[in-house]
C-alpha cells in the first residue's frame, strides 16, 4: 500500500496528492480537507506538535485503518505553524478499489487524528492567543470505531 505521511509548514495540492495515490486497481478516492474556518473574529491558528511521536502515532493510525479495510493508498498531510483564515490545515486521502472502504477509512483516520495525534491549536483573536479546548464531540466521533 502507498503511504504518504507528512508534517510540514508548506501548503499542499489535493489534485497532486490524489494523482500520487492513483494506480491501476484504484476505483475510488475519498479525501478530507480541513481549513481554518473564519467567524467569531478568528484571524489565525498556530499549530504545535510533538515531533517524532506525531509521525509514529499517525503511522499506528494508518496501520489500524489498513487492518480494517482493503486500501490501496493513504496520504495524510498535517500542516504546522501559523495559518490564517481560509488556509488548508490537514488532508486525508484514501484510495481503494471501492467507495465504501475509501469513505470509511477516510472518516476513521480523521476521527483518530483529532483524538490521538499530538497536535495542539492556538487561536488568534484581536491579536490575543488562546489554546483551543479539546472537544468531547471528537472523542464521541472516535469512539464509534471502537471494536466491541
Amino acid at each position: 500500500m502507498i503511504r504518504n505521511i507528512h508534517i510540514q509548514h508548506e501548503d499542499f495540492d489535493v489534485s497532486d496528492e490524489i494523482a500520487a495515490l492513483t494506480a491501476d486497481g484504484v476505483g475510488a478516492v475519498a479525501t478530507f480537507t480541513g481549513m481554518v474556518r473564519g467567524g467569531d473574529d478568528l484571524t489565525a491558528l498556530t499549530l504545535e506538535h510533538y515531533p517524532g511521536m506525531t509521525e509514529r502515532e499517525i503511522g499506528r493510525i494508518v496501520d489500524e485503518a489498513e487492518s480494517r479495510w482493503p486500501l490501496q493508498g493513504v496520504t495524510i498531510i498535517h500542516r504546522i505553524g501559523r495559518l490564517v483564515v481560509g488556509e488548508r490545515i490537514v488532508l486525508v486521502a484514501v484510495a481503494a478499489a471501492h467507495r465504501g472502504a475509501a469513505f470509511s477509512a477516510c472518516e476513521f483516520l480523521m476521527d483518530y487524528l483529532k483524538t490521538r495525534a499530538p497536535f495542539w491549536k492556538q487561536e488568534e483573536r484581536d491579536g490575543r492567543s488562546c489554546w483551543v479546548e479539546h472537544r468531547s464531540s471528537d472523542e464521541e466521533a472516535a469512539s464509534r470505531w471502537r471494536k466491541t
Partner: protein, 83 residues
C-alpha cells in the same frame, strides 16, 4: 529520563524539556507527576488537575500507572486538538 512539555503545559512550567533522574521512588508516571506538583508555581497549576493532562512514554500514549525506566522519554501535554 527526558521530560517534555507541550502547548499550555509548556507555557505554564516555563520550559519545553528537562532531565530528571530516574530513582526507585519514581516507579510510575503518577509518582513523577506527584514530584512535579510539589515544585509549586506553574508546575503546581499544571499537576494539580491531572484530568486535564495527557502523557506519553517513549512516544506512546500512556497513563498514570505506566511504569517508568531510566532513559524513558516522558511527555506531558493537554488533550490533543489537531486536524
Amino acid at each position: 529520563m527526558n521530560i517534555l512539555y507541550f502547548a499550555w503545559v509548556r507555557q505554564k512550567v516555563g520550559r519545553s524539556e528537562e532531565v530528571i533522574e530516574h530513582t526507585p521512588g519514581l516507579r510510575t508516571v503518577g509518582d513523577l507527576a506527584a514530584l512535579l506538583l510539589k515544585r509549586g508555581g506553574g508546575y503546581g497549576e499544571v499537576f494539580s488537575d491531572l484530568s486535564r493532562l495527557r502523557v506519553a512514554v517513549n512516544q506512546v500514549h500512556a497513563g498514570l500507572d505506566t511504569v517508568l525506566a531510566s532513559g524513558d522519554e516522558v511527555a506531558f501535554f493537554p488533550p490533543v486538538t489537531g486536524g
